[in-house]
Symmetry: C2
Subunit: 342 residues, 2 copies
DNA sequence: CTGTTAGCGCATTCAT
DNA sequence: ATGAATGCGCTAACAG
C-alpha cells in the first residue's frame, strides 16, 4: 500500500492536519515544518489518494463526455473528433481529466436501468458532463432534470433548456446557406447528401430552402456517413446527375466528399465543369487535400469543444455563470469545386 | 446530498451491512429484507458513492489510456481511433470506463513533476493502463517500474519488458513485406512515405529491405502524417516519380493515400499505369473508398485494441495471467492500385 | 442470516 | 500556527 498522509506526518514529526494544509495551501505553516513535510513527501513519493480526498470533498476532478452516436462508437466522424480535441485541450489545461462514457449498447433493455451518464453523476464519478447528439426523449428528460438541479452540464448542439449551457453552430441555418451558395451560382438541381445524424433536421432544412428559393430542386439522400458504400455513390450519381440532371452536390460531411469525388472520376464527370461540389469541413483546410480542392463551409468544431469545456469549467468552479450559451459562426471557404452556371 | 446506505438501511429497517451485502451479492440475504432494501433503494434512487466504495476497496473501475502522440492530441489518425474503439468496446462490456490521459504539454519542464499517467496510478484514479506510442526514455523506465510491481499495464507495440503484457503487429516486418510485394511485382524504385511516428523504425526497415532485395532503391520521405501538405506531395511526386523514375509509392498511412492520389491526378500520372500505390489500412475496407481502389496491408487495429483491453481486464481481475502477449497478423489485400511490371 | 464495528485517506472544524 | 477529533460512504471481518 502506498504511503498515506499519516506516514508523511510521522516522518515529518507533525500532525496530519499540517500535511493536509500544505497539500491544499489552506493555511500558513511554519516554514521549517513545511520543509520537513516536503522532505517526507519526497521520501515516500507521496501522492494523495483520490478516494480519500474525494470522500472528504465530494469532487472527482473528472469530466464525463457522452456522445451516444450512431451504431458504432464515438470515434467515427471528423466533427466528433475535433470536438474531443477541443475539449481535451482545455480540460487538461484546467486540471480535469476526461472520462469517455460509452453507453452499454442496450441499457434500454436492461430492467430499471438508467443511462450510464446518469449513473456516473449519481456515483460522483464526474463533476460535470459534456453532451452531444442526444436524441433519445427519455435521456433528454433526465438531462433537463440534472440541469434543473444546477448540475454542470453543457450540451453541444441547439439550445434546448432554459438554464442549461450550450454551444452550437446553427446546423439548419448553415445547411440552408450552403444551398443558397449553390443557388446563387446558378444551380437549380442539387443532390443533397446528409448524414444519418441529421435526419431530424432534414425536413426543416428543405422547407426553409423552398421558402427562399422557390425554383430550386433538391434531391436528398440520407445516411451518407463515413462508410457509405462506393457502389451507392456511383448509383446516386448515375441517377441524379446523369439522368436527372443535377449540376451540384452538397454534402454535410467531408468524409463523403472523397467517395463522391472518386466516383465522379470513375464516371468521367469532371469537377467542377460538369458537377459542382460543396461540403462541410470540421477541420480547417480539410477540403484542400482534394483535387480539385473542395469548397466548403467551415464549422469550427474544435473551437466548439473548447468553448463547451470552458463553460463547463467555469460553472464547476462556480465563477460567474452569466454566459450560458455560445454560438459559433460558420464560414464559407471558396476553393475550386464550384462552378458558376452561365 | 444524495442518499447513502444509511438512509436506505433505515428505511428498509435493516443494518447497513445488509444493504452492502445486497449491493455486492456478497452473501445470502433473507428475501423479505432484500425486497425491503430494494424498495428503499428504488425510493431514494440510490446509487453507491464511488468514493466510499473506492476508499474501502481501493478500486476505481477506471482504466487509463495514454497515447502521447504527436504534436496535437490523440485523435489524429485512423490507427489510434480504431485502437480506441476496440478498447472502448471491451472495457464498457466489462464494466470499466475509460479515462483519456492527455499529457500536460510540458510536464518535462515543470519541476519535479512526473508523467501524468503515473500520477493517476499513484492517486488510484485508475486500476490499469493501456499505452501506445511511448518513446520517451524516462517514461519507459517508469513504466517498467510499474510492470515490475505487477501493476496492470498493457502496451500496444513491440514487446519491451519481460513481465509486461503487450499486443503488437510487427510494424517493421510488415513494412518490409510491403516493399517485398512491390518488389515481386517488378518495382525497383519506390517512394516510401513514413509517418513521423515511425521514424525510429525506419533505419531498421531499410536495412532489412536491403538484405533481401539488393537491387531495390528506396526513397524514404518522413513526416507524412495526416496533414502533410499537398504542395509537398506534389513536389515529392515531381522529384521522385517524374525525375528519379519511381514506379511505386508505399505509405504507412491511408490518410496520406488521398493526397497522393489527388496529386497524381493533378500531375496526370495515371494509377496504376504509371505509378503503383500501396498503403496500410487500419480500418478494413478503407482502401475501397478510393478510385482506383488502393491495395493495402490491413492492420487490425480495432482487434488490437480489444486484445489489449482483454489482457488488461484479465490481469486486473486476477484471472490466469499466462497470456502476456498477442501478435496480430497483417493481411495483404490486393485491389487496383498496383501494376505488375513487365 | 444479520448487526456491530473498525478501518480506508483525507479535509476541516474546533480547541489550544 | 498546530494538533485532536470528527465525518465523508462503504466494505469486510467479526460476533452473534
Amino acid at each position: 500500500m502506498a504511503a498515506s498522509i499519516y506516514d508523511v506526518a510521522k516522518r515529518a514529526g507533525v500532525s496530519i492536519s499540517t500535511v493536509s494544509r500544505i497539500l491544499n495551501n489552506s493555511a500558513n505553516v511554519n516554514e521549517k515544518k513545511a520543509e520537513a513535510v516536503r522532505e517526507a513527501m519526497e521520501y515516500y513519493q507521496f501522492v494523495p489518494n483520490q478516494f480519500g480526498r474525494g470522500l472528504a470533498k465530494q469532487q472527482s476532478e473528472m469530466v464525463g463526455v457522452y456522445f451516444p452516436y450512431q451504431p458504432d462508437s464515438m470515434f467515427e466522424n471528423a466533427y466528433t473528433l475535433e470536438l474531443l480535441k477541443g475539449i481535451e485541450k482545455v480540460l487538461s489545461a484546467c486540471g480535469y481529466s476526461m472520462v469517455l462514457i460509452g453507453e452499454n449498447l442496450d441499457y434500454k433493455s436492461r430492467k430499471a436501468s438508467e443511462p450510464k451518464f446518469l449513473e456516473f453523476i449519481r456515483q460522483k464519478k464526474i463533476d460535470g458532463l459534456i453532451l452531444s447528439g442526444v436524441s433519445d426523449e427519455d435521456q433528454l428528460k433526465r438531462i433537463w432534470q440534472c440541469m434543473d438541479e444546477d448540475y454542470p452540464i453543457v450540451y453541444v448542439g441547439r439550445k434546448f433548456h432554459e438554464r442549461g449551457m450550450n454551444v452550437y453552430a446553427q446546423l439548419e441555418t448553415y445547411m440552408v446557406e450552403m444551398l443558397q451558395v449553390l443557388y446563387e451560382k446558378g444551380h437549380r438541381r442539387i443532390l443533397f447528401y446528409t448524414s444519418s445524424l441529421h435526419r431530424i433536421y432534414l425536413d426543416s432544412i428543405l422547407k426553409r430552402a423552398k421558402e427562399t428559393m422557390g425554383d430550386l430542386n433538391i434531391f436528398p439522400v440520407e445516411g451518407a456517413d463515413q462508410d457509405y458504400p462506393r457502389e451507392m455513390v456511383l448509383a446516386d450519381l448515375k441517377e441524379y446527375v446523369v439522368k436527372k440532371g443535377c449540376t451540384a452536390i452538397c454534402t454535410s460531411l467531408m468524409g463523403t466528399a472523397q467517395g463522391i469525388l472518386n466516383s465522379c472520376t470513375e464516371l468521367k464527370l469532371s469537377v467542377p465543369d460538369q458537377v459542382s461540389i460543396l461540403a462541410v469541413e470540421h477541420r480547417l483546410g480539410a477540403g484542400r487535400l482534394f483535387y480539385p480542392q473542395i469548397s466548403a463551409f467551415y464549422v469550427p468544431a474544435q473551437d466548439m469543444g473548447q468553448g463547451a469545456a470552458e463553460l463547463l469549467v467555469r460553472h464547476m468552479e462556480k465563477r460567474e455563470l452569466k454566459e450560458t450559451s455560445r454560438e459559433y459562426i460558420t464560414k464559407f471557404i471558396e476553393r475550386e469545386s464550384i462552378r458558376a452556371m452561365v
